[in-house]
Symmetry: C2
Subunit: 265 residues, 2 copies
């Protein structure tokens, strides 16, 4: 992945700014679509805590989220700044006042439904799927109450990248898989522009699989690189990818142990 | 898993009917929470098709859903009754007018970001996570437009349980993983009661992992069994679990091939 020349940089930035969401005339007043389409991931929070009733209804949205066989195959670790610090010895990422760690949990139902035995990848897929849906339910519920949030899977050792570390820290039994942490708080400042999204035509197909247009992908990549350079002065998209790749080997090994129940060496 | 005696059955049913969602006074008028907390999975649809602009904004909600490193690591197969029949030789499950098959897709970005190489479980986790979030975005967007839907992972050979079959049918390249299908339509009749959900206290913990109360789990299980017996005369929860278990061995083998790129025997 190479750096951009000035023309590519300007074109990339323009592409981001030009990227619009499409809300049809018939749904212009739909408040749910407003939240779904305008929600932004936020990484700057005020010190102010979230009211207890609002935090509770965010959890409630996860509780009633749809899930395969209604198994609710997730568990939520809930933290404020004190309990996070006590557990992990540092602050919640981005100094947010609240955090919810979302984990797949197939351990819980094993206690009562013995028929679902250990098919590791089937169970893991079900758990990741259900837990991710519950996570996004909280993300949207929060947004609708004016509470901003961001989902983290690698940042701050709080997602599936650090499953082994988290299993130890939280005494997780087999069949519990850390996936991501959402941190919540009232937003500080204006949100960043939406990162570049591929057009609907490139992320869908009808009937058989269709390859994405290569030029569109290159354009998207240039927009990603330009966006990082413009809005995160101290970071770059290349660095972000590098961070993921550098730790991918260790993450892979840990996931393998976790999913297939291979004991520690 | 045993059948219920009449007292357990009545108690189970009562438990379901008594199960309420909790919306705080301060958020009573929040239209997004109304949709998130009252959304039901629907399996009976009118013949009437969904307007094109509404279907399009449902896809738009997926397009802008949050995702790790903004990779949009999913692809959507979109179908109406004709194209589904042409592709699969049968009707869309529950005779819904539209279907979207949601697949994890890490094949697309490999073309432009070569630094993210093949770490199978890391990539699979990222893909399932991102794709599940996009799926739920469509579920909620639809609901907000008066369109009902249900997510299927095993029913009708349209989810991860039948990954091998779907890979062949849709010419999926390596790095594309079928996860679930959502079928959409206008709802016919009244929705079923919400299936029993465990209380917030049982699906959360603070600081360290906490085992779920065994009696609460047994109560939940009885409610599941009673609910199936009451609302789906021709089915039972025991049968539903049996269907999953019977096919779990084959599903596991296929997932293993798909995730770790082991060629066919």
């Amino acid at each position: 992945m190479k750096a951009l020349n000035p023309v590519e940089f300007i074109k990339g930035l323009y592409g981001i700014i030009d990227g619009k969401v499409h809300l049809p005339e018939s749904q212009k007043e739909n408040p749910v679509l407003q939240v779904l389409l305008r929600r932004r991931s936020v990484r700057k929070f005020k010190k102010e805590d979230i009211p207890e009733d609002v935090f509770r209804v965010i959890l409630e949205a996860a509780r009633v989220a749809p899930c395969a066989i209604n198994l609710q195959s997730w568990v939520l670790g809930i933290y404020n700044q004190d309990t996070w610090k006590k557990t992990f010895g540092r602050s919640i990422p981005f100094d947010a006042p609240r955090a919810v760690m979302v984990m797949g949990d197939i351990h819980r139902t094993r206690g009562v439904i013995n028929e679902i035995s250990h098919y590791p990848l089937v169970e893991y897929t079900l758990a990741v799927m259900n837990a991710s849906i519950a996570a996004y339910a909280m993300n949207i519920a929060a947004e609708s109450c004016g509470v901003a949030s961001v989902m983290l899977s690698e940042t701050g050792k709080s997602g599936f990248y650090d499953a082994k570390y988290l299993k130890k820290k939280l005494n997780l039994p087999d069949g519990v898989f850390p996936i991501l942490t959402i941190v919540f708080g009232f937003p500080k400042g204006k949100p960043l522009a939406m990162p570049p999204k591929l057009p609907i035509e490139e992320i869908t197909f009808s009937e058989k699989y269709k390859e994405t247009d290569r030029d569109t992908m290159k354009e998207w990549l240039n927009q990603m690189i330009a966006g990082y350079r413009a809005w995160r002065i101290t970071d770059s998209f290349q660095n972000q990818v590098k961070r993921y790749v550098e730790r991918a080997g260790a993450a892979e090994e840990n996931l393998n142990r976790l999913v297939f129940y291979n004991p520690e060496e």
